[in-house]
Point group: C2
Chain length 143, copies 2
DNA sequence: GCTACTATATTTGTATACAAATAATTTGTA
DNA sequence: TACAAATTATTTGTATACAAATATAGTAGC
């Protein structure tokens, strides 16, 4: 196996994402929905621009995703503060139920894949990812 | 920012991927092609099944990707050993040129995002990702 | 040799994902 | 006020991405 950082990052994320969807097979969710539900669980009522930013997807992608989630009754969109440009997104009761299921799945899988690492190794892994992530945000902003 | 492992993994990979495509903007490549070029650079002549496995994508996805890469003259497909079921994929001269450009970009960006970490931190980060990656492969196989 | 089974690639249908263009709204500024 | 500029969401077009079904080719057991 290629052990470069970029390959491990790509492969690990791909495997993790697939495993999450496999474990959520009974939940009736499509591939893009778990991350949005997870984000809204922490930031219910966000506007679409911020959800897109937090989920690392394009606002144009989010539009279609939210359309389907609204049709399925997972979320509601509404304007607020008289600002008719921004749309605030709220989880419905069904949305909160799915969010808890997603959260449980993510936490369990995370526990499982980190089980081979001791406390020190976990701390280094998370700290390293956080630093790389922040560096990438800086790189992006500079352009 | 959410500092859970799964969020950092998703966000970092998404940012990295976007930045790679931004830096390769002049290369005329689409989003799925860099990882295939990179894989073939290390494993020229692989069969599609193994490329899909190495790139963490579905064989069905790879079919369309390789069709476009073949049309653009980046790769060639041919059968070998009298086995007409498997297709071996080879980089063309143009493919090798693009592969070197991709490799250079990946290496440079990797250097850049890891620049804030010392040797020990890098070693822990790579080791941690490798262990998680292997754990996920095991989880997948068990099903 | 024949049939059931397995392996590999492709097709089809739906859902992301992004770039570029568009629409509607708000803000800034004269 | 008026009008240019910026903000936010959507539309359109092309390219992944996967599930399920299909087509073809190899393998095993008899």
């Amino acid at each position: 196996m290629d052990r470069s950082f970029h390959y491990l990052l790509m492969a690990t994320q791909g495997l993790f994402q697939r495993q999450v969807m496999a474990e959520l097979a009974g939940a009736g969710l499509t591939a893009g929905q778990p991350k949005v539900l997870d984000y809204l669980g922490l930031h219910d009522g966000s506007v679409q621009k911020d959800i897109a930013l937090g989920c690392q997807i394009d606002p144009a992608t989010l539009t279609g995703l939210l359309n389907r989630m609204e049709e399925k009754g997972l979320i509601q969109r509404r304007t607020e503060d008289g600002n008719r440009r921004s749309l605030h997104v709220y989880l419905t009761q069904l949305g909160w139920e799915k969010q808890r299921e997603v959260r449980r799945t993510l936490d369990q899988l995370e526990q499982r894949v980190l089980s081979g690492l001791d406390e020190k190794q976990r701390a280094y892994l998370l700290e390293g990812l956080l630093r790389v992530c922040k560096e990438l945000i800086d790189v992006e902003v500079l352009q």
